[in-house]
Amino acid sequence: MIQEHFKLAVKNIRQRKLRSWLTMIGIFIGIAAIVSLISMGEGLRVAITSQFGFLSTDVLTIQAGGVQMGPPGTGVINPLTVDDTEKIGKVAGVKASISRIVRSADSEFNGRRNMAYVVSIPDGDNRREVERIANIEIDKGRLLKDGDTYSVVLGAKYGTDDIFGKPVSVGQNIVINDAKFNVVGIAKEKGSFIMDNAVVMNDETMRELFDDDEKVDIIAVVVRNVNEMDDVQERIEKLLRKERNVDKGEEDFSVESAKKALETLNDTLFAVQLFVYIIAGISLLVGGIGIMNTMYTAVLERTKEIGIMKAIGAKNFDIFVLFFIESGYLGSVGGAIGVTFGALFSLFLSFIGNAALGSGLIRAYFPWWLIPGALLFSFSVGSIAGIIPAIGAAKLKPVDALRYTK
């Protein structure tokens, strides 16, 4: 029975092709936006989580310059020093306080140049700590050890064609800031953009290379007991405020835990997504109003037809169903097209993005609920928009409807 109504309703939609398509565009845009944005957003979230996943939870990261934009060490007025690292090492609850230098440098190999991301690793026990917290594992060759001068361990990407057009192998030399370095090891691939593109060298060598004895870009603090994280953080903040002579709330440095950083990022991401959802929501609302408008027009246009159908035995319910199906169909088909385009669009974007970045970092991610949810939602928008016009059509009095002339 309803099946027959459906056929009749679809026939009516087909009859007005152009208008039906135009009406569906509203829903189509909203749903396409939602699907592509959610899949991109989720993909980004997954990517970020995996980037930060390697950071240990027992580590506090200290940087100068408050909340930092850009690579560490850039644009800092009052940098941290090795002196700060030592003082923090004496704070109660701190197991290790490690100075780290993180810089960008010119690298050269195979006649090609590249901007390298260089990080330092300290001597002694702290070497083990850094290897642990940064999760450095060797794929080929060996890790750095104390006393290695002008030697480097390279991130996994250097073992491929990606950076210099040909892989760097263990034992070969690579030029960094005009100094020759011997490659002692290639690290395992971590799936993290930073880790896989990093160049690791001993602290001493790095200080010599950059001609800098004092400055520290990041102090990595390993706490004795993870449960004391917050307390230790407070103590360090207090100490640094005193050292640097700043008031609470006006800190020119930051002390962050990896977990916090991830949360902050997630919050930012969520805020961006929320904004985008609101816009997509408005677009869907407009789409719904478009359907409603089309349905009102359809009811008006077909008033005489409604009268005829009633005269030959259509019940109010029949008329309601006919129009209701029509609007639901407009919503669903618009939604289905929107889902398809949205999904293709985000796959396309991630393809472009990865081609530009040369990594598999950006990946569209489709949670299981996304596509059925979007379809159900578009059907609901269409149906809800159609309810009032459909009721209006059903309630028309047969004589009045028959009498109606355009």
Partner: protein
Amino acid sequence: MKKKKIIVLKDVWKIYRMGDIQVEALRGLNLEVEENEFLAIMGPSGSGKSTAVNMVGCLDIPTKGEIFLDGKNIAHLEESELAQIRGRKIGFIFQQFNLIGTLTALENITLPMMFQGIPKAEREKKAKALLEMVGLGDRITHKPTELSGGQQQRVAIARALSVDPDVILADEPTGNLDSKTGLMVMDFLKKLHRDEKKTIVMVTHDQRIAKQAERIEYLHDGRIVKSFDSDSFHEVEDYHDNMKKAVKKK
């Protein structure tokens, strides 16, 4: 044996209110139609013919009075009950044919059966047979716009017959047709009356068309003012002319 009265209107009033103005379309109309009777209703424009026929067809309800259809009082029914009676017992034929433009001839004829929940196969078989009967067996997939006026009206007749109703209501069925095509449509109506034993109530302005019926009731100002049977049909022409003149003078 006295025949059953299938349609009875008792003191039926229909008053339309439009703001302050009241239009009394029917003013105490009394009318009886027997089973298998062929009745024509004549009357000047605005005399209430369509209003009366629509009420018999359950398209509207009277302001006052009683209407019995096959013994059942339909004057106070709800829309849902009216729709049911309409769908099963009444077949409408309109002046403007009123076919649904997006549907083919066959689909137009099957539509009333669809609303009655008759299965598809049965519907199509019956619709094809009806199209054959009205001589349009080769126009199954034609849309209304692809048919002539006379052909459209024949499809409409087939549609009216599809649910096998007891009563056929025809409001100026030949009004939009030339006289030759009109007479052909009349032949179909007469055939329905004679062979299918349908009760037919037909509204018309044209006394030549009206004379094809068994009886003519003349409506004026919302009530019956004169009845003619086959013996007095020759008086209709003069009566109608005088009436028209009288209405014009007013």
